[in-house]
């Protein structure tokens, strides 16, 4: 049984923990607002997303492309040179759209009104890790992302069926080409290993049998929609996890979700994602029970999770390594600044190891300590200059001319006082900017929701003292210094 959080523990630290983990953090005012709401309403304000208007428009190209057919036909008829040229143009177009798509999603995470919905979308992107590198079509990638947003807080079976029939997934794990003569096992295997059960809870035979059942699930590249190809489907009898019948793809998913292990598997993953460490077997069972009792629906599970005593266990608070996306979106929220240009964000995330829409493999990104190496830690420290001060650390960009140009434009704008750097006057009061003790307190509360170690605070004070009367640049320098600590990498 999950214990319910004692309302007496609801304060700035616990509310900040909720906002950091269920979303991407926020300003002291936003945290204060959650404190005032009390735990139940605070959690509801994040979980009940449909109550929050979300007017963000989709990218203009986020729809089936009626001219795609003609383009494909023209491609077939073109001479080899023309074809090469056309393929180059198509690739260029897709790359530009991918960049726009990355910026569009980051904007939703860093600025949007439904942080939990975006956090869950990020969870599902990692869970069903699909890469543009193979799909090569920005529309399909957007569509899968939109699917996670629409179904990611709903029913587990429904989500799995939607994902199984999703064009990007059909391409990514080769299901689109799987025929009864040669069933492709890629999707069937990952469906069991990575999506629903985990290793050791099925046999090789289950994989090959499920692959047979899944034949027929395919993609119509003309309509850009899922299609069931009768001629591809194996109509024979299959035996999957002890059940025998003439199964199809929907049956496979029903059989998998019915396994007790399926609830344990997905609730353990969710707990690990939100809490930052894997659950004990007892806690995992309690989470799985809540999930089962609520018909394998995610929203009641998340509500119970975010209201549980266990989630606010002191040893979890500020002990999770921020993912690069959390680091970027969270910094933008805490600093109340705009996102850097899309190209700069894309380079930043690639350098920090989390290229959105391009996970390293089907298992997605390794979380936690794996985000941090000497290389990525120094890169975080240097990119904090960009976010706080609007300046690009020079060496960081040495090998990336395009990003350098974008960074220079941003730095120029920062110098011109228009954008790029944090608006110090917006986030600090006059007193805080004048009084160094107040300033140190305000910066730590905003950026860490806790305190630096005394020695670190002394070093930061020395930096401020060396500057005499502070100008905005020097205050931004102090922000960058706080962001360039081990503590800032945790949430």
């Amino acid at each position: 049984m999950l214990k319910v959080l004692d309302p007496g523990r609801w304060d700035f630290a616990t509310a900040a923990h909720l906002l950091n983990r269920a979303g991407f953090g926020g300003t002291p005012d936003e945290i204060q607002r959650l404190v005032a709401l009390g735990p139940a309403k605070a959690v509801s304000s994040l979980v009940d997303v449909e109550r929050i208007p979300d007017p963000t428009p989709n990218p203009s190209w986020a729809r089936p492309d009626p001219e795609r057919l003609q383009r494909l036909a023209a491609l077939r008829q073109a001479s080899p040179e023309q074809r090469q040229q056309m393929q180059r143009e198509e690739q260029q177009l897709q790359r530009e759209r991918l960049l726009e798509l990355r910026g569009w999603w980051l904007e939703r995470m860093a600025k949007g009104p439904r942080p939990l919905q975006e956090k869950m979308t990020l969870f599902w992107h990692r869970h069903f890790a699909t890469s543009f590198q193979k799909v090569r079509d920005a529309y399909y990638m957007w569509r899968q992302n939109d699917l996670f947003r629409r179904f990611g807080l709903g029913n587990w079976t429904r989500l799995l069926v939607e994902v199984g029939k999703d064009p990007a997934m059909l391409i990514w794990l080769d299901q689109a080409q799987s025929r009864r003569q040669h069933p492709n096992e890629n999707f069937a295997r990952e469906l069991m290993e990575l999506f629903t059960l985990g290793e050791g809870h099925y046999t090789e035979k289950d994989v090959t049998e499920a692959a047979r059942a899944l034949t027929g699930w395919s993609l119509n590249r003309q309509t850009q929609e899922f299609v069931y190809r009768r001629a591809f489907h194996d109509n024979g009898v299959k035996t999957i996890l002890g059940r025998t019948g003439n199964f199809d793809g929907d049956d496979v998913i029903r059989i998998l979700v019915a396994q007790p292990q399926a609830a344990l598997f997905i609730t353990a993953k969710l707990w690990t994602f939100f809490a930052g460490e894997s659950p004990s077997p007892e806690l995992n069972q309690a989470l799985a029970d809540v999930f089962r009792r609520n018909g394998n629906e995610f929203k009641p599970l998340l509500r119970a999770l975010f209201l549980s005593e266990e989630f606010y266990s002191p040893h979890l608070i500020r002990q999770q390594v921020k993912s690069p996306v959390q680091w970027l979106a969270g910094s933008v929220r805490m600093l109340e600044r705009d996102l850097p240009p899309a190209q700069v964000c894309a380079n930043l995330l690639r350098t920090l190891g989390q290229d959105l829409f391009a996970p390293p493999n089907v298992k997605g990104w390794d979380e936690g300590f794996a985000w941090i190496s000497t290389s990525t830690l120094l890169a975080r420290y240097n990119y904090s200059a960009l976010l706080a001060e609007g300046v690009m650390a020079a060496g960081e960009m040495a090998n990336r001319p395009r990003a350098m140009a974008a960074g220079r434009r941003m730095a120029n704008r920062a110098r011109a006082g228009r954008t790029g750097a944090v608006d110090v006057r917006k986030i600090l009061t006059d007193e805080e900017r004048r009084d160094k003790t107040l300033l140190l307190g305000a910066l730590q509360k905003r950026l860490l929701q806790s305190n630096l170690k005394p020695k670190q605070e002394r070093a930061l004070r020395e930096y401020l003292e060396s500057k005499g009367d502070l100008d905005d640049d020097e205050i931004r320098g102090a922000m960058r210094l706080i962001m360039s600590t081990p503590e800032y990498q945790l949430t």
Partner: protein
């Protein structure tokens, strides 16, 4: 050659930068022992561990995704091969022949030249019992040298660090890339990751110039793990019912911050003062090996380098993809080995490839191949026993296991050979039990 410093100046350099740059700011308690022993070793010229000039170096090259071994070292004359792969089989007149029955993929001209020069060993049929066809699990098995049914917490190189390198500088192992390979996971973690030396530092945004850089100074102080924090409650292991003990996230971050600081000055200085002596092809793998060559040439005390190349998961339209990857691989490795030769370091360096598995013997319906089992791996260097090692697995249907080649060499026999013959350390404590070392080295 005239720019190459003498052995003595190299040692001086390493001693002065590694030790003083670290000691110039307060060394926290948990590192004091490290530096004490380093100091002792640096002072003792007979100790080789801190002097990269003298000790052997291992470069690991990971071919991620599961390379199709049968189309890499091709049994072109084998009927089963030809029949199993109506579309994908490479023919005798296409391959770079090694003998009457085997040839290299036509894109591997770089490998062929190294083979002919006697600097390359091809270990055939490498795998392990009860092969796992999951990328992740099989990669993990290779990285941890575990049995297929057992989970090992630490990597095989991590166990080497724990056993043979206590007290080493973190740069005893360098990974070119972002995330540490699982093979480095250790009780006492070692090794640093970097992508390029220019950005491998804290870049102060202090303006104005002249005088001391206050930002840099404050940064350094704020990134020192102080003793109070270190022995205090915040660093105690997190534990709960059924959970394993581990250090806190903050502890881990503080240690990484420190490793970054210590290695940053050294690596940048070393890589900047060394030039590559050959031209490398343009690719990410080449860039990684080019940097490794500069670090070796500059005398880093590093024993292990780790680079990787991805993309070998060729379920569909394999020929074009594999051709591109192998051409890149062959060109990059050839340039690197030539660079080592030009530096006079060929005899000190061993480069070993691995991929998590080979692919099925039969091609699939999509002009590709699915996850399989045993495959060849490659070892390069001035001291390798050149030619073919091990025996090629049989392709006869009755010899296959679930359509896969049965391994003839356990990869841990290769690791054992490298550990004992090259890194000069007993292999049993690292590998958990005895594996007969393969005769790889002269």
């Amino acid at each position: 050659m005239k720019t190459e410093p003498t052995l003595q100046t190299r040692r001086e350099f390493l001693r002065s930068t590694v030790l003083t740059s670290a000691l110039s700011w307060t060394v926290p308690g948990f590192l004091a022992n490290t530096f004490a022993s380093l100091q002792a070793q640096a002072a003792d010229s007979a100790t080789q561990i801190a002097t990269g000039r003298d000790s052997t170096i291992l470069v690991i090259l990971q071919m991620a995704g599961g390379n199709d071994g049968l189309n890499t070292v091709v049994p072109f004359a084998n009927d089963y091969y030809v029949k199993s792969r109506p579309r994908l089989a490479l023919k005798g007149d296409q391959v770079l022949k090694l003998n009457d029955s085997l040839g290299l993929h036509p894109a591997l001209t770089g490998f062929k030249e190294l083979y002919d020069a006697g600097c390359m060993s091809i270990v055939q049929g490498v795998g392990y019992p009860n092969p796992n066809r999951s990328h992740f699990r099989s990669t993990e098995i290779w990285q941890t040298a575990a049995d297929a049914d057992r989970f090992e917490k630490y990597g095989w190189l991590g166990r080497y660090f724990d056993n043979a390198c206590s007290g080493c500088d973190p740069t005893v192992a360098i990974h070119i890339g972002r995330q540490m390979p699982q093979a480095f996971t250790a009780k006492t973690p070692k090794g640093v990751s970097l992508e390029n030396p220019q950005s491998y530092r804290f870049i102060s945004s202090e303006r104005g110039g002249g005088g001391e850089d206050m930002m840099e100074q404050s940064f350094r102080e704020m990134n020192e793990a102080d003793d109070a924090g270190n022995s205090g409650g915040s660093i105690t292991a997190i534990s709960g019912p059924g959970m394993e003990m581990r250090g806190s996230a903050l502890d881990f971050l503080e240690r990484t911050a420190l490793d970054a600081q210590i290695s940053s000055d050294t690596i940048r200085a070393v890589s900047a003062r060394t030039q590559n002596r050959v031209t490398y092809p343009a690719s990410q793998l080449s860039n990684s090996l080019r940097l490794v060559a500069r670090l070796i040439g500059g005398g880093m005390p590093t024993r292990i380098y780790y680079v990787s190349q991805g993309g070998y998961d060729t379920h569909t339209n394999q020929p074009g993809t594999q051709e591109r990857l192998l051409r890149d691989l062959g060109g990059a490795v050839q340039a690197f080995m030539n660079d080592m030769k030009a530096q006079g370091n060929l005899g000190r360096v061993l480069l070993m490839t691995f991929s998590e598995f080979g692919r099925r013997v039969a091609e699939n319906a999509n002009n590709g191949t699915d996850h399989g089992a045993a495959a060849p791996l490659f070892v390069f260097g001035g001291k390798v026993k050149p030619g073919l090692a091990g025996t090629h697995p049989s392709l006869a249907p009755e010899d296959l296991v679930n359509g896969d080649l049965k391994h003839t060499v356990d990869f841990r026999s290769v690791y054992a050979a490298v550990l004992e013959g090259w890194l000069k350390t007993p292999s049993e404590p690292v590998l958990g039990r005895r594996f007969e070392p393969l005769g790889l080295l002269v």
